[in-house]
């Protein structure tokens, strides 16, 4: 088993290895992948392949030639990072964008801190945020490449629903006006939503992956549920206060990578807390920060930043919310 973070006692023996866990994550991502291939065609396949290959390649080169340690690319963790990175990019991204993201994710965020289990931040997310501030034009270009399956239909340049509302609000329009002008429907958002990154096309496919991970006991449900719950409650309250300015819960949950982030990014073993209490605090923080960034920040989306900010609190949460032990603590022991 590779170097996973060792939690406090008791240690339970399980059959899982890093390899099988990561394989399960890849399987859970398959439904979303298939939907995005259906909608974005070759470009979705290309982005994911470039992401996976370049992440594995960067990890191999660094371990083999710079650190001269054991090469751990067979544990699939680099492949998962590459896949998640690609799913977080706009479908029209050029291949070199994914490659730069992979260098940042694996080279800077993961290997510099000591490889799997040692990194503070989620590598794929830092890769995405780095690309977002480095290439804002490319990263907010949501035009849809032609697909094999829907050739020549509505290939249009669209902003994401979140970006459209943010723009509209700052221009002084009210939400009902914006919604009427852009014809957002919730049916579209839940099943398939065009105008967003590769992996967030279909909320249903993401939820399917979530259920698979739960059945296989790869992740615990606390983090995703608390994130989504916090966002729902908070946006519901704000929406009640002023429905003209603050978007409602359904809209916020099904847009801008909340599900992708909550299910696949925030639950990353290395960068999330180990105890249930820690998980709940961590997930609550992600929810609150996401809503604050969306309502009051400069960026229309906030999930990536929220997860990265809460990543920083994980060592502290691990320290103060230790998992319960079997025996009572012995004083002066």
């Amino acid at each position: 088993m590779a170097r996973l973070l060792v939690s406090g006692a008791p240690h339970l023996h399980v059959k899982e290895s890093t390899q099988s866990l990561m394989r399960d994550v890849l399987i859970a991502l398959t439904p979303s992948l298939l939907v995005s291939i259906y909608f974005f065609g070759f470009s979705a396949i290309k982005l994911v392949l470039v992401g996976v290959i370049s992440s594995v390649f960067v990890e191999y080169v660094i371990q083999k030639f710079i650190l001269k340690t054991k090469v751990t690319i067979n544990d699939y963790s680099a492949a998962v990072t590459g896949c998640l990175l690609a799913l977080n990019l706009p479908p029209s991204s050029p291949w070199w964008l994914v490659f730069i993201g992979a260098i940042v994710a694996i080279g800077i965020v993961k290997m510099t801190f000591g490889g799997l289990g040692q990194n503070i931040f989620n590598p794929a997310l830092v890769g995405r945020v780095f690309l977002l501030i480095s290439f804002p034009t490319l990263m907010t270009d949501w035009s849809i490449p032609e697909s094999w399956f829907r050739s020549g239909v509505d290939a249009f340049t669209g902003a994401t629903p979140l970006a459209i509302t943010k723009e509209g609000l700052s221009a002084g329009l009210t939400l009902p006006e914006i919604f009427a002008a852009n014809e957002f429907t919730f049916k579209e958002m839940i099943f398939v939503k065009i105008g967003g990154s590769v992996g967030e096309v279909s909320a249903l496919a993401l939820i399917l992956g979530f259920v698979y991970l739960l059945i296989r006991k790869v992740i615990r449900p606390h983090i995703p549920l608390v994130i989504v719950g916090t966002i729902a409650v908070m946006t519901w309250i704000f929406n009640l206060i002023n429905p003209d300015i603050y978007t409602g819960p359904l809209f916020n949950i099904f847009t801008g990578g909340v599900l992708l982030g909550a299910i696949f990014m925030a639950t990353d073993y290395v960068t999330s807390p180990m105890s249930v209490k820690g998980m709940v605090i961590y997930a609550f923080g992600i929810g609150v920060i996401t809503v604050l960034i969306r309502y009051f920040g400069a960026y229309p989306e906030g999930v990536s930043f929220a997860i990265l900010i809460m990543n920083m609190t994980v060592p502290l949460l691990n320290k103060y919310c230790k998992p319960k032990r079997y025996a009572k603590e012995v004083k002066n022991g």
């Binding site: 730069i100 800077i108 510099t112 780095f130 501030i133 480095s134 290439f135 804002p136």
Partner: protein, 195 residues
Amino acid sequence: MGKLKLISEGIIKNNPTFVLILGMCPTLGTTTSAINGMGMGLATLFVLVLSNMSISAIAKLIPEEVRIPSYIVVIAAFVTILQLLLQAFIPSLYETLGIFIPLIVVNCIVLGRAEAYANKNSVIDSAFDGLGVGLGFTIALTILGLVRELLGSGSLFGWKFIQGEGMLAFVLAPGAFIVLAYLIVLFRKVTANKA
């Protein structure tokens, strides 16, 4: 100690940026391009040499308890002189460096050298010490600016060789931290092999 040795110590063994990790505020704030980094480095070098010399000259006359305020007044005077001179004769550099010029007063390197070296050594030695540390700072800031400019805007000393923009993150604050961290690693690796 030989004068050359004094200079090389300031550049390598006591490099303010890569070894002592002092003066981080201007290091991270001004190095958006090689020229800016070099300008900041040279401005600090100017203050460092003059303040080292004058503090070394008057150190014996200053009572123990008021030595820090006295040094600060001397340093502040030289910084203000530099600021006026830049404003008058190189206004473009003055504008780019902006608030970081007056902030040289509180740069730990300047007061640090006054306290650690200049008040115990001769005027000439202190001048060379200031020159060495100042050059070390200038070289470090120029390299940092060079790398950030290269990656961030695809140019070298303002000479652009790619179309469009580079990776903007390197021109912004996060890039400063990332590049500085890797440069420190590289510097330690190179100097460790020598020693």
